[in-house]
Amino acid sequence: MVYDFLANLRDNNPLLLGLIRVLLIIVPILTLVPGLIWYERRLLSWMQDRVGPNRVATITLKNGKKIKLFGLLQPIADGVKLFFKEDITPKAIDRLIYFFAPALALFPAFALGGTMPWGPSEGFYGLLTPIANVDIGVLYVLAISSLGVYGIVLAGYASNNKYSLLGGLRSSAQLISYELAMGVAVASIVLATGSLKLTEIVRAQEGPLFGAITGLQNWFILTPYGFVAAVVFLICMVAESNRAPFDLPEAENEIIAGYHTEYSSMKFAVFFMGEYAAMFIFSGIFATLFLGGYNMLPINWLALGDYSSALKGVGEFMHSVNYWGAPIWFIGKCVFGITVYIWARATLPRLRYDQLMSLGWKSLLPTAVANFVVVAIWILAVRLHGFWIGVAAAALSYGMMYFLFKSFLGTVDKDKKVLEKRSVELVDGVVPEPVAAS
C-alpha cells in the first residue's frame, strides 16, 4: 500500500518523493545527534574509568524508589543550557560573515548524505534511497567535504581574534591536506568497482570475494587493497571532522578553542551539531565504501543453497532479513564507525601541528597513491592473465612499494638530530631519600 503510494509519487510527482527522501535523511540525523552526544559522553567516560552523566533521567517514585535511565536526557539538558546561555557577540566582528559562518559549517554535514544509499535500490527501499542516484556519486561526497573548509576559515576570520584566525587557518590547512589522501583512497575503490555511483559500489561488494569465492561477499575491507584504502580513509575521515587526535585547531587547552572561541550559546551549538552530524555521515560513507553498505554480514545468503539443499530455505530467509532490515544494519555500521571515533579520542594523544601535516603529506598521501597503483596493476593482470597471476603481480608490486618507501623515507629524515640523553645534576648535590611508607 505504501509502496503503491510511493510508486505513484515517483511517476506523477517526483519532487514530493524527493522531498520525502530528503526528510528521511535529515530527520533521523537531527534526532540521532542527541543520542550521539549521550553515547560519546558515556563511552568516553567508561574508557577513562569513570561513570559519566547518569543523573538526569532518574525518575523518583512516591515510595522513594528511583528508576535510573542512565542519563539519557543529558543531551536535552545540554541543549537547554546552551539555549539559555548569554549570547555574547563581540563588537569588532565582520557581522555578515560572523552570522553566516555557523550555517556554512552545518550545511556540508547534512548535504553529504545526498548520494548515500541506506538501503537497497530495488523494490520498496529503491523508492526511498538514495536521494539522488547521480552518475558522479562519490565525487559529490568529495566536493561537499571540500566545502566544509569555508565555515571554519570564515568563522576564524570573522571573530577578529588572532587566535581564532590562527586556529581557523590551521584547521583549513589540515582539512585540505587530508582531503587529498581521502580522494586517492576513494579513487582506488572506484577503480576496483568501475563506477562512481555509490549504489554500484555497494552492489560490487555483493559479488563473490576476490571474484572467485562465491560464499562470501566482496566487502572491500576484506581485500588487501581495500584494507589499506580503508585505513587511509579512516584516518582522513577523523582528520576531516576535526576530531581527536586531530583537534588541535579547536582544542580548549591548546588555542583557547580556536575558531569557535567567540561563538556562544546557540551559534556554538550549531557548530557542535554540525560536527556530530558530520561524524555520523562520514561513518555512513565509510560503511558504504568499505563495509558493504546495508548488508548484514559478508555472506552471500543465496549461495548457501549451492552448498547443500537443506540450507536453501535458511539462505532465502536470511536474504529477506538482509533486505528488510537494511536500515538497521546500516545504522549499526554507522554506530560502529562512531565507536571507532570515540575510541580514538579516548586513546590517542593530540597530534602537534607539524606532526599532523607530516602525517598527511608524507605518510598517508604516498600510501594512498601506492595503493592506487597496486590496484591498477592487479586489475590489469587479472584481466590479461587470470586470477592467480593477478595475485602474484599484486604481491610483487606491494613488495616493490614497500622497498621504495623504506629507501625514500630513509633519505628524507636523514639529518634529523637525535637529542642526546642528559643527566640531571642537582644544585647542592643532595639526593632526596626515598620516603618510607608509614
Binding site: D94, L96, I97, V134, D135, I136, L139, Y140, L142, A143, S146, L147, V149, Y150, V153, L154, Y157, L165, L169, S172, A173, I176, L196
Partner: protein, 175 residues
C-alpha cells in the same frame, strides 16, 4: 526572436534566469566590492552558481569538478592569501576621482555591445541542444580523455608538477 523569454517562461528558462541573475550579480560584486574578503566570497558564490548552470547543461562531471577545483581549492587558496596578508578594504587606496573607472566601464559596455551584436544575434535561432543525452557523464568524458586526448592530459600533468615545484620554491624563505 529568442533573446527574450517566452511569457510565461518554461521551468528550465525560469531556473536558468534565476541562476544567471545570481551569477551576474556575483560577478558585479567581485568587481565593485572594495573589501577583498567579500569580493572573494562573491566569487565563491559565482563559481557555485556556475556549477549549477553546468549541471543544467548536462555536464555533470565538469560541474562537480568546478565545485571541487574552483570553489573547494582555488578559492580557499585565495582566502588563505587574503587572510595571511591581512588585506582590508582600506588597502586599496584610491585617488579622489580615478578617471579609469568610468572609462573602463564605458569600454566594457562597448565590448559587450560589439561582441554581442556580432556573435549573439546570428545565433539566436538555436534552441535545442544537439549533443547526445549522456554527453556530460563521466564515462563519455573519461573515455575521450584517455584515448583521444591522452597526450594533452600528460602535458597538463607535467604542467601541474611544474606548478607544484614552482610554488614550493617561491614560498621558501631561504633558497
Amino acid at each position: 526572436m529568442s533573446l527574450v523569454p517566452s511569457i510565461p517562461p518554461t521551468t528550465e528558462q525560469a531556473l536558468f534566469l534565476g541562476m544567471a541573475g545570481l551569477a551576474a550579480a556575483a560577478s558585479l560584486g567581485v568587481v565593485a566590492i572594495k573589501s577583498p574578503i567579500r569580493a572573494a566570497l562573491c566569487l565563491v558564490l559565482n563559481f557555485f552558481v556556475l556549477a549549477f548552470i553546468y549541471f543544467s547543461l548536462g555536464a555533470q562531471l565538469l560541474g562537480i569538478t568546478q565545485i571541487i577545483v574552483y570553489a573547494g581549492a582555488i578559492m580557499v587558496l585565495f582566502l588563505f592569501v587574503i587572510m595571511l596578508l591581512n588585506l582590508s578594504a582600506e588597502s586599496e587606496t584610491r585617488k579622489k576621482f580615478d578617471f579609469k573607472i568610468p572609462l573602463a566601464a564605458l569600454v566594457g559596455l562597448g565590448v559587450f555591445g560589439i561582441v554581442g551584436s556580432q556573435v549573439l544575434l546570428p545565433l539566436q535561432a538555436i534552441n535545442q541542444p544537439l549533443s547526445a543525452n549522456d554527453w556530460g557523464k563521466p564515462q563519455a568524458l573519461g573515455y575521450s580523455l584517455f584515448t583521444v586526448y591522452a597526450w594533452p592530459i600528460e602535458a597538463v600533468s607535467i604542467l601541474l608538477l611544474v606548478g607544484i615545484v614552482g610554488s614550493i620554491v617561491l614560498a621558501k624563505r631561504k633558497v
